[in-house]
Amino acid sequence: MSGNATKTLGKGCAPPGRVPEGTMRLYSMRFCPYSHRTRLVLQAKGIKCQVVNINLRSKPEWFYTKHPFGQIPVLENSKCQLIYESVIICEYLDDVYPEKKLFPCDPYERARQKMLLELFCKILCYQKTSFFGGNCISMIDYLLWPWFERLDVYGVADCVDHTPTLKLWMAAMKQDPAVCALLIDRSTFLGFLNLYFQNSPDAFDYGLTC
């Protein structure tokens, strides 16, 4: 994959030319989790692809010929065929490049994966208020929080950068007294992980002074 670490194209930029035979082009944005999905699949399947980053606040006019509402990600092939919606793109890539299948072959296992995805989408959709249960923190927020706190520690919290409601939720959670009181110290946690992966029995006491 080439071009991911390139500047975005914005209003006034010239449109890119035809996609060369034997490659794909992905219209993307480096911090968008939906684009990220597609780039993961491209990478995992070893597909030759050029990434063109789009400035989402100042979209090139020609980009609306790639997607009616100018959304990313969009995949374009050398036949000028356009595919959008991250899950549809990922499924298309798995179909077109069958050598390294990512979806299982068994129909029931495929269905199971799609059901899991549905559940995950429901989590994203259920987030219509500041907290998952309403305007105040409640049980569901505490039940989900530990995994999101770890995103920060693993240094991958950027993946919620383009899901503003989720990002706001994380910021709001960090203000909660209970969450604050128990916030994992990043360097302590990394120290733990480091020892844990070495199978050290001292991992679990890392950072304790007494």
Partner: protein, 241 residues
């Protein structure tokens, strides 16, 4: 299906036994448009199946072991595998069973159908909102929104220049969206398609499809169901039996 076996199962009912070899079971409800999708695919592909209808206002406790969300449709096969979510059940049936493939084989054509299918996504919610309005409150705003959604579908047919959403014959996308169009007449909303002539022609063509006509539900049955449902009657699901 006999009237007795079509009666819905409710709280206190015995859980059904395992699914016999060679059959697939669908947990359904006679008037549910989501379940109708799966029934259409079962019929279109000639898949041997048995139907267990669920009383959705008074669900059997055992039903939550089939789907923790307690929703229909759910497929259960003879290996005890459970599949939920209507679109996922339809895709599963297309992949697991031989015969006519409803999704196209060509990856790009399949992706196009799935992209077009996204354009339908607001219709179920809108129809449900109109349906839930009590005392015939002013639905003109909702009807206008519905017309807008229909225009999006009209655009697809205009671009494709084919009768059906997938091409010259019925395919998966047509069956996935059909059940809500079946409701239009019963809900007296047929006029919402007046400004979308290609969509109207598509509806007429769908009525002619052997699968659609074999599973056609009488308008009076729908209306009887709606009336009882709006009164919160537990009998709604078995109306007409």
């Amino acid at each position: 299906m006999s009237e007795r076996s079509a009666r819905s199962l409710a709280k206190g009912s015995e859980p059904p036994g395992p699914v016999p070899e060679g059959l697939i079971r669908i947990y359904s409800m006679r008037f549910c448009p989501f379940a109708k999708r799966t029934l259409l695919v079962l019929k279109a592909k000639g898949i041997r199946h048995e139907v267990i209808n669920i009383n959705l206002k008074n669900k059997p406790e055992w039903f939550f072991t089939k789907n923790p969300l307690g929703l229909v449709p759910v497929l259960e096969n003879s290996q005890g595998q459970l599949i939920c979510e209507s679109a996922i059940t339809c895709e599963y049936l297309d992949e697991a069973y031989p015969g006519k493939k409803l999704w196209p084989d060509d990856p790009y054509k399949k992706a196009c159908q799935k992209m077009d299918f996204e354009l339908f996504s607001e219709v179920p919610r809108l129809l449900k909102s109109i349906f839930s309005r009590r005392d015939k409150e002013d639905c003109s705003g909702l009807k206008e929104q519905l017309c807008k959604e229909f225009s999006k579908l009209e655009e697809v047919l205009t671009k494709k220049k084919t009768t059906f959403f997938g091409g010259y014959s019925v395919s998966m996308i047509d069956y996935l969206i059909w059940p809500w169009f079946e409701w239009l007449q019963a809900m007296e909303l047929s006029e919402c398609a007046d400004h979308t002539p290609k969509l109207k022609l598509w509806m007429a063509a769908m009525w002619e499809d052997p699968t659609v006509s074999a599973l056609r539900m009488d308008v009076k049955a729908f209306q009887g169901f709606f009336a009882l449902y709006s009164q919160n009657s537990l009998e709604a699901y078995d109306y007409g039996l």
